[in-house]
């Protein structure tokens, strides 16, 4: 069977009141994506003006290209029936593991961690794209075992399937992405309907592991996490203005956000423009927004994220099959974790973990991965609409 084209059922639809020229996409989801893309470009244009002397548009030009490429990929993905991806479960999982291992083997080092492979035209960050691959693989695995959801065996298999790439990613070291992987796996189990007992047991296990990694192991002299990672994770508990300590970045971020006040400092955004806040175009881009455009600008960005997450959950509910729901659940987990951890980190209530702010942070891998994930959501939406139309529940557009 060829991939189900949305065109065919449309022509067979018995009850189509009128045809529209609209692209069959979720309009609110698309609005959120376009809105965040515009916010990203506007913020980066100002925040990166002084980063590379003589080339004020270096970052913003690239980011716009990434956004456009990502948007086109999203449109393309929305035309594909995601259901076909179910059968590619094993190749997808293999690609995920191989790409992460390849990075470990021959990746290039950025700030002490191997995260990307340099290709002739672009460098490719495997852990980012891996998020989407993992969502697809785990969702397919769960659908396969849908009838044995209450088996402990299923839960263990899903968690292990998530844990293996997570461990490799953490070894790169990219703690943030590793945590995203674990959260995706947990969310899939949660939505798939795993029993509360097993979920609670898993949560307890995670707490134990965290205690072990952060407190017990360093005390015993075993350093599973790098020292700087442990420092970063705990630094938000003791902010500091000392440049040498880990709390410095967070302190500067709070100063940037706080000084934005209600409507922002505009051209006087010195925390970012004079580089007191490092990484203001990547991990701390939210602080750049909040300093320049104030509570107002930050609020608009947050509302766009709220819209994005709401539409994701909506797609989750309206998906025509379990596979679609689980993919949407995985995407929801990815977006929520990244938004809350990243924003929480910039406002000083979460540890610094190095996760990007989806669509806002500068970086091709992150932007394109997020847009691919949203492309999957669009596909689920389109298929759900098509299926509902087939069953005569809704008019097709």
């Amino acid at each position: 069977m060829s991939p189900l084209s949305p065109i065919k059922p449309r022509e067979e639809a018995p009850i189509s009141p009128r045809r529209t020229v609209w692209l069959p996409l979720d309009p609110l989801l698309t609005l959120a994506v376009v809105g965040l893309g515009v916010c990203s470009a506007v913020t980066l244009r100002e925040a990166t003006r002084n980063l590379i002397p003589g080339d004020p548009r270096f970052y913003v030009d690239r980011q716009v290209v990434y956004l456009l490429v990502g948007f086109v990929l999203m449109l393309a993905l929305s035309r594909i029936n995601y259901a076909t991806l179910r059968r590619l479960k094993n190749p997808i999982y293999a690609t995920l593991l191989l790409s992460i291992l390849a990075v470990l083997a021959l990746g290039h080092t950025a700030r002490g961690s191997q995260r990307a492979i340099n290709f002739p035209l672009f460098s490719f960050q495997a852990s980012e794209i891996g998020k989407v691959l993992l969502i697809l693989a785990l969702a397919a695995l769960l659908v396969e075992r849908a009838r044995r959801l209450h088996d402990r065996d299923t839960t263990v298999r899903v968690m292990i399937a998530g844990l293996i790439p997570a461990i490799f990613v953490i070894a790169q070291p990219d703690l943030g992405s590793g945590m995203v992987y674990m959260v995706i796996a947990y969310m899939l189990l949660f939505i798939a309907g795993t029993s509360w007992r097993q979920l609670a047991a898993l949560a307890a296990l995670v707490c134990l592991a965290a205690t072990f990694l952060l407190v017990a192991a360093p005390a015993a002299g075993v350093h599973v996490l790098k020292a700087y990672e442990v420092n970063r994770l705990t630094a938000f508990l003791h902010p500091s203005s000392n440049k040498q300590t880990e709390g410095y970045q967070q302190q500067e971020s709070k100063i940037a956000i706080g000084s934005g006040q209600k409507t922002g400092r505009g051209a006087k955004s010195t925390q970012v423009s004079l580089n007191f806040l490092p990484e203001s175009h990547t991990d701390f881009v939210f602080a750049a927004v909040a300093e320049r455009y104030g509570f107002l600008g930050a609020g608009i960005v947050l509302l766009l994220y709220a819209l994005l997450i709401w539409r994701t959950l909506r797609v989750l509910v309206m998906a025509k099959d379990l596979f679609g729901s689980l993919i949407a659940a995985g995407v929801a987990a990815m977006l929520m974790f990244q938004v809350f951890v990243n924003v929480g980190m910039t406002i000083g209530i979460m540890p610094i973990t190095g996760v990007t702010l989806p669509l806002m942070s500068y970086g091709g891998s992150s932007v394109i991965t997020t847009l691919l994930a949203i492309g999957l959501l669009q596909s689920i939406y389109v298929q759900a609409r098509a299926s509902a139309a087939l069953k005569g529940r809704v008019p097709l557009y």
Partner: protein, 728 residues
């Protein structure tokens, strides 16, 4: 169709299991709570605490660099400059343009500094704790406790932290410093150390490598700017004392304000790094002279490099000029005369180690000239002094060095110059009558002690005027003996005239003076005994042996010997009071001697006239006072008078001289030469006090110096005439 129409077209409902609905609802709920938390946090940061974070952001980016204010000049009474500020170029290094290796060196140094401080914190806390314990005892600390305290303080002193060496890889920086060093004649390590220390002390500010490099090096640096990146020349103001050693102790000197001084009231609101007065008038009138430091506001980025901005700078306010009562001509002549007198004394075999002079206007206390020998050149303080150099200036042990202003801090017996005070006291108390003849014979015996004239001369029994004229010691010994039963008669007169109390001169320190009486002796005895009990030493040296006040003490005081200790300025004030009362029918003022006359704008124009109200008025019996003055005049003018030879050829009718020699004995050292004079003039009367330590008889050394000063003051031919009177 109708079933479909009833549904809203955008709301495709598919059957959702209750379980999924619950779980999605939970996710939705968590999401809403998290967004709520973030919004509240943002509200708190941006709206509630926004102001505070704006300030922190500005503190991040704005650096205030001080701009030194030009210090005000010091002028003489006619507006001639005595102290000026000279502008010269300083060679400075811009830290932000230094290679990265130097910055690493700075942060390594900062690191080891803070580590050293950290290591020393327990020691500092031990000192504080020990001092709290000492204070809680409410009684003086014992020797052992003081020793322990010194030991703790020594241990708590932060050791000098060595500057980490420039990394070997930093050949670029080393070559630059070596090139600069060759031009400035400095070792490249010295330059590197100054840069590291300077940047550590005030980050972002330029570091001065050399202040007064001279024309040659400055031209080289200016012409080959491209070879010296980050090296600039900046005009800086340097204090200049064109007359060198002249009145050095009075003028004082300047230096960068020290951390201790910053805590003093006098230096409130002074920024660290400001040049302030140290000692003398520079210190006393510092708040007029120093001006107000300006502020250059610089915007810097996170790396500390300046970034263009339109921050407003505050220009510095120049200090005011200080006009003194000093007469530059008289001052220079007096210094010269003192040196000449010292030279004469040395030529005749006297050590003449030190001396001082004061010239006052008796009507208002204006100091016309004041000086102390040996002196020093305050320009030396422009460069940091070595410990040895400073020790030499300060003097060691009992021998005070050139930094001491002997005119106000010397503690001397005055010898016979005290006699007019004794005479006036005895007359006013009715102890002697003017004509009563006393002091026959060479010596006077009281109990087993002999009190003799100098050289065992025989003056015979003489009246008061003659006694002053020839300076008969036996006469005044008798007066002292007669006065003793009447209580502290002489002492009271001395105090009335301003002796034995601070004069209130506008200098940072002056000697209180001691006029001994029975009560004073009792107090000293008590102190000595207390000290001995506390320290278990055989003697504390406060008094040689505790004993009661005796008639002998009073007799010694009557001739200005014994335990009497005062400085030349107090004597000058006492003679000024006598002179003032003499010219005003017995009504005299005890003036407050002063050097400051008025404060002026840098461009001229009076800011403030300095006022020094007289301390008090005294009423003296004019008849008695006239007799005393007659004695002084005869001593200086009539043959047989102690200083008559010195004033030979002086027009006494135009400018009558009332002068008294003094020779204070300091066994086993050579005698101290004293001369006090009042020279009358309707327009410009003057009181002169001169003393030369180990200079011999008063008429020999001090009196000729006084004549030279008077000659200059009244425009007479200057002549050094040594007297031969061998009187005390």
């Amino acid at each position: 169709m109708s079933a479909i129409e009833r549904r809203r077209p955008s709301d495709p409902r598919i059957p959702v299991s209750p379980q999924l609905a619950l779980r999605v609802a939970i996710i939705g709920g968590v999401t809403m709570v998290l967004f709520g938390v973030i919004f509240f946090r943002l509200w708190y940061l941006q709206v509630l605490s926004g102001e505070q974070y704006v300030q922190q952001a500005d503190a991040n980016r704005v650096r205030d660099l001080p701009i030194a204010a030009p210090r005000g000049q010091i002028l003489d009474r006619d507006g001639r400059s005595i102290v000026t500020s000279r502008t010269t170029n300083a060679v400075q290094i811009v830290p932000s343009e230094m290679p990265a290796a130097v910055k690493e060196q700075v942060s390594a140094y900062e690191q080891s500094l803070s580590e050293a401080e950290e290591r020393h914190r327990p020691a500092v806390e031990r000192v504080a704790r020990f001092e709290r314990v000492l204070a809680s005892h409410h009684r003086p600390a014992t020797k052992a406790q003081l020793r322990e305290r010194r030991r703790l303080i020594r241990a708590a002193r932060t050791p000098r932290v060595p500057i980490p060496p420039l990394p070997l890889s930093a050949s670029h920086a080393r070559r630059l410093f070596a090139r600069l060093g060759r031009v400035l004649h400095l070792d490249w390590r010295t330059i590197d150390e100054r840069v590291v220390e300077g940047v550590t002390a005030t980050p972002y500010a330029n570091v001065t490598v050399k202040t007064d490099a001279g024309l040659g090096p400055l031209t080289v640096l200016g012409e080959r700017q491209s070879e010296f990146p980050g090296v600039i020349q900046r005009p800086v103001s340097i204090r200049n004392y064109p007359y060198g050693e002249m009145a050095a102790q009075v003028l004082g000197h300047v230096d960068e304000v020290s951390p201790q001084e910053l805590e003093m009231r006098a230096f409130r609101k002074v920024l660290p790094g400001t040049i302030v007065g140290q000692e003398g008038l520079e210190f006393y009138y510092d708040h007029y002279l120093r001006g107000k430091t300006g502020v250059e506001r610089v915007q810097v980025n996170a790396a500390g490099s300046p970034v263009p901005s339109n921050l407003a700078s505050t220009p510095p306010l120049a200090g005011h000029s200080l006009k003194l009562t000093l007469d530059l001509g008289l001052q220079r002549e007096s210094e010269k005369a003192l040196l000449e007198g010292v030279g004469h004394a040395r030529a005749s075999g006297k050590p003449a180690v030190a001396g001082s002079f004061v010239a006052l206007d008796p009507r208002n206390g204006q100091v016309l000239a004041i000086g102390s020998y040996p002196s020093f050149n305050p320009n030396r303080f422009a460069k940091p002094l070595t410990t040895a150099e400073y020790a030499e200036l300060q003097g060691s042990g009992s021998a005070s060095g050139p930094l001491t202003n002997r005119a106000v801090n010397g503690a001397y017996p005055t010898g016979s110059t005290f006699k007019p005070i004794t005479a006036l006291a005895a007359l006013e108390a009715g102890i002697v009558t003017p004509t009563e003849a006393l002091g026959a014979g060479r010596c006077i015996s009281v109990s087993l002690q002999q009190f003799c004239n100098a050289g065992h001369t025989e003056f015979g029994a003489v009246g008061l005027v003659k006694a002053l004229k020839v300076s008969s010691d036996t006469y005044f010994f008798e007066v002292g003996k007669l006065a003793n039963p009447h209580g502290p008669v002489i002492q009271r007169m001395a105090h009335r005239l301003g002796i034995g109390e601070p004069t209130g001169i506008d200098l940072p320190s002056e000697f209180d003076g001691t006029v001994p009486d029975a009560r004073w002796r009792e107090r000293q005895n008590k102190l000595e005994l207390q000290c001995r009990r506390r320290t278990h030493l055989p003697s504390c040296g406060i008094v040689s042996e505790p004993r009661p006040w005796t008639v002998g003490d009073n007799m010694h005081l009557a001739v200005g010997q014994g335990d009497l200790l005062i400085d030349p300025l107090q004597m000058a004030v006492a003679y000024a009071t006598l002179a003032d009362a003499f010219t005003n029918g017995g009504e005299g003022t005890v003036v407050t001697p002063h050097l400051g006359m008025q404060v002026e704008e840098a461009e001229g124009g009076v800011v403030e006239s300095l006022r020094f109200p007289a301390k008090r008025h005294v009423h003296l019996d004019h008849n008695y006072l006239s007799l005393v003055m007659e004695g002084l005049h005869e001593a200086a003018s009539q043959s047989g008078g102690t200083s008559a030879e010195v004033w030979e050829g002086w027009d006494q009718s135009q400018h009558p001289v009332y002068g008294k020699t003094g020779t204070a004995q300091h066994e086993p050292l050579e005698d101290q030469s004293w001369y006090m004079a009042y020279i009358g003039d309707p327009k410009r009367p003057i009181v002169i006090a001169v003393t030369v330590e180990q200079g011999g008889f008063g008429a020999e050394t001090a009196a000729p110096i006084a004549r030279l000063m008077a000659s200059r003051w009244f425009g007479k031919p200057e002549k050094f005439v040594a007297g031969s009177s061998k009187t005390l």
